[in-house]
Amino acid sequence: MSLTYLTAAVANAMVETAYPSNTISHTASATNGTTTLTFTASEALSISVGMTVTGAGITSGGLVVTNPGTGVVTISGTITTLTASSYVFTLSPYASLHTTTPGNTGAAEVSGGSYARQTIAFGAPASGVKTSTTAQNWTNMPAVTVGYFGFWTAVTAGTWIGGGILGSSLTVPSGATVAAAIGAITATVSG
């Protein structure tokens, strides 16, 4: 099932929630000690696990580790005291390639050769679609057929953000370079 009849504003809000903007700033509403920050529930929806966070009281390594969507966001890192002030959340997604459906976990990612996830950035959503604004180069690929792509919070391990099916599949020989042109990868929401 996919939602088709949405206003552009609603569609944009949905895709922004699923694939958050690269940088978001929210002001915490309360002093929270050393591990949690409180925001409004709608603000918390735009914060995802794996985002890095900077702001008052975080001296290094701020990372969102849980975000239950209730407005309380748990942070890890070297922290003195978190305060009711502005915090900046940054998501630096990495694009992956998959041989079969990655499902909800990022399964079936390509491995072998020099394959590694590549950095990717998106523009603001338009008509429910976020479009890549950077090119990707996967070099020295293994011999493989690729039909799916995905997004992660880190170049290795990290947190699975989401993914989808390519418009067609690609069978590449060992050692090949596969590049995605700017605008070739889009993020939309369906369910």
């Binding site: 603001a124 418009g167 596969v178 070739a184």
Partner: protein, 91 residues
């Protein structure tokens, strides 16, 4: 001059939006030491390189010479801006 290297293109099924889903097989078609594979995105038609080489980026994926890789992706970006299908800046 055209620099077309055709992948083995096999129809698999239709996508949910009705567009055809193909498999593009570049095995035994390209020399990986000289050519890269580019996923082109929605831009269609010919892209002209500074040295006169022309690539048709209509297909989902095309093979280009390694030395043209960055130029092709750059020209595709320019084409997005000119066509108005792509006016977003990175956030």
């Amino acid at each position: 001059m055209s620099a077309e290297i055709k992948a083995k293109k096999t129809y698999i099924r239709d996508n949910e939006d009705g567009t055809p889903f193909f498999n593009y097989d570049f095995t035994d078609v390209i020399n990986v030491d000289t050519h890269a594979i580019i996923l082109t995105g929605p831009i269609q038609g010919p892209i002209h390189m500074e040295d006169g080489t022309v690539y048709n980026v209509t297909d989902f994926a095309i093979a280009v010479k390694h030395e043209h890789n960055d130029e092709v992706t750059g020209k595709i970006q320019e084409a997005h801006k000119v066509s108005g299908t792509f006016t977003q800046d990175a956030e």
